[in-house]
Symmetry: C2
Subunit: 339 residues, 2 copies
């Protein structure tokens, strides 16, 4: 089957290829885009992750800023490297480009991705562009460390460890809830500047997550397990519990709720604690720490300008509980539901 | 927007995840699927490439064997590693799975991919599965070498080098031409077993390409530039010419045409030489060799059971010519047209 509108599509692909090919030397990249494969000089160990975002599942093209699609595709992949404590290295981008995407939008998508790559010290080392009836962006990212044991996995939590989390939760879920109610931007500004600011903030959390790469590297030497919060705080801590064969006991009232999420939840008559615990996509980091190293972890985060909050403890057993009540096991695979 | 048929899709994704997660320890893989990222111990240098195949562009679901889709997605990515002379290492697979794909088909796709991975010594180290209204398979592959200079790029050809190619050409293009004329399998067997065998062979070349990993590694020490033939022999040699700033002069009559392609081309009233030169997707390897090393390259290929044929010379200048006539510059980016 021939691709639709082939001439236009070829020209678009060529433009996008030039834009993406223009980027990124790094000290590890020997041969970049344009050969059969990119050649790099890795550290002693590498951490690699792959992620896709797909039109009509993760975003709607009609209501999205293309630059934010490019940003989010790379940000969610890099967040996995942050959770390993990896030095960010290279990104490889596979784009599926529909003919109905105009050139300006396709290039804006590239620019959103490239801006984050540049800011994160990531070289765009290779890519593949294909025609596709739906827009999709798949990003594989590679991070480095001197030794495999320098990376932080999900499996190192031990009974007695403390559970700490960066930042605050519920913002991305509140942003999604606002967008799904399809309240236009115009409605925000009518007479309530506090609400308008909160809405703007939670939409930003939903659409432009920031991978906490510096924080992950700073925390890595101090923590026993680490994960980024994509599925939801409860679900992702459940991944640590399962991988480490331990129970995670969260303390009621300790989970920091994003004030903007609280304001928007109130407007939407949603439970802000439920958004914080179950909403996901905040891309904060949660860690487990042996108590004697807890102060060092808090200090390492503070040096990155981030507050760590103790939200619970690791115990023997399994599962995740909140204030003594078991949380249902949700999530559990690398899959994000539609928005 | 919620993904269609969410419950069924979640169950499918979980099944596929289990199938893909079941595979592949390798000596380099420290942490496999299931953490934030896979952890590997690379060689001194890595070669990395990413490739997608997309429904309605590269295949039609209605007329494809799902196992062949999985096979081809990995095979085309691994062919890039073959062209670098890399030791195959790890693969990372991002799947977009439509709800209308039944579980048996999705698992067959996985099995096609996994069978090739196992046979190629490639560990499936990570993946991402997303709902998608169209089926797509993106594969990132990582290969290894002790030193960056052990990889063979497109840029090392020098005037005076010989141009050699493995195997024979035109098969995949003849297979595509046959499939596009939509001649059913039934028609093949009516009274002409020679044609039936040729059709079966060219369809296999189109749908089940084999990445020539052992050949690439055997040739690497002997050759100055190497590429896999995906866009077409003329176009891909043009990539070597451009990257090396040389002219590629092919000799008329020297390009080996696949006998099955010749038989099918005759039936379809197509020019077999044009299929061999321009058709692409044969995933053979083409190399340039300094003449004193030519015998060693031929012997290295013979040790892999592959015949190398001298098809031309490298000269000063630019472009690709055949029998003294310039070939138009086609292709030039990582993009395969629709089938």
């Amino acid at each position: 089957m021939a691709a639709p509108g082939e001439l236009g599509e070829f020209a678009l692909i060529e433009q996008v290829r030039r834009r993406l090919g223009a980027v990124g030397q790094s000290r590890r990249l020997v041969v970049g885009s344009g050969d059969d494969a990119a050649v790099t000089l890795p550290g002693g160990a590498t951490a690699t992750s792959i992620d896709s975002i797909v039109e009509a599942v993760h975003f709607r093209l009609e209501t999205s800023d293309p630059a934010e699609i490019g940003h989010k595709a790379l940000a969610t992949a890099l967040s996995d490297l942050a959770a390993m404590g990896a030095e960010p290295g290279e990104a490889y981008v596979a784009l599926g480009l529909p003919d109905r995407l105009d050139a300006a939008a396709a290039l804006a998508l590239c620019d959103g991705l490239l801006a984050l790559a540049a800011r994160s010290g990531v070289a765009l080392a290779g890519g593949d562009i294909s025609a596709s009836e739906l827009l999709f962006v798949t990003v594989a990212v590679v991070g480095h460390a001197d030794r495999a044991e320098d990376f932080v996995t999900r499996s190192g939590a031990r009974p007695g460890d403390r559970v700490l989390a960066s930042g605050a939760f519920g913002g991305a879920a509140a942003g999604l809830a606002w967008l799904e109610r399809e309240r236009g931007e115009a409605a925000i500004n009518r007479g309530d500047p506090g609400l308008a600011a909160a809405v703007s903030e939670v939409i930003r959390r939903q659409r432009r997550p920031e991978p906490l790469l510096a924080l992950g590297r700073a925390l890595a030497p101090e923590v026993s397990a680490m994960i980024d919060i994509s599925d939801g705080l409860g679900a992702d801590l459940g991944h640590i519990g399962a991988a480490s064969s331990v129970a995670i006991e969260l303390e009621a009232g300790r989970i920091p709720v994003d004030p903007a999420a609280r304001r928007v939840a109130s407007e939407l008559e949603l439970d802000p604690e439920a958004l914080a615990l179950g909403g996901g996509e905040d891309y904060e980091l949660a860690v487990t720490v042996d108590p004697p190293r807890s102060a060092a972890a808090v200090a390492a985060a503070a040096a990155c300008g981030v507050e760590l909050t103790e939200i619970g403890r690791v115990a023997a057993g399994g599962g995740v509980s909140l204030g003594g009540l078991s949380l249902p096991r949700t999530g559990g695979f690398e899959h994000r539901r539609g928005r």
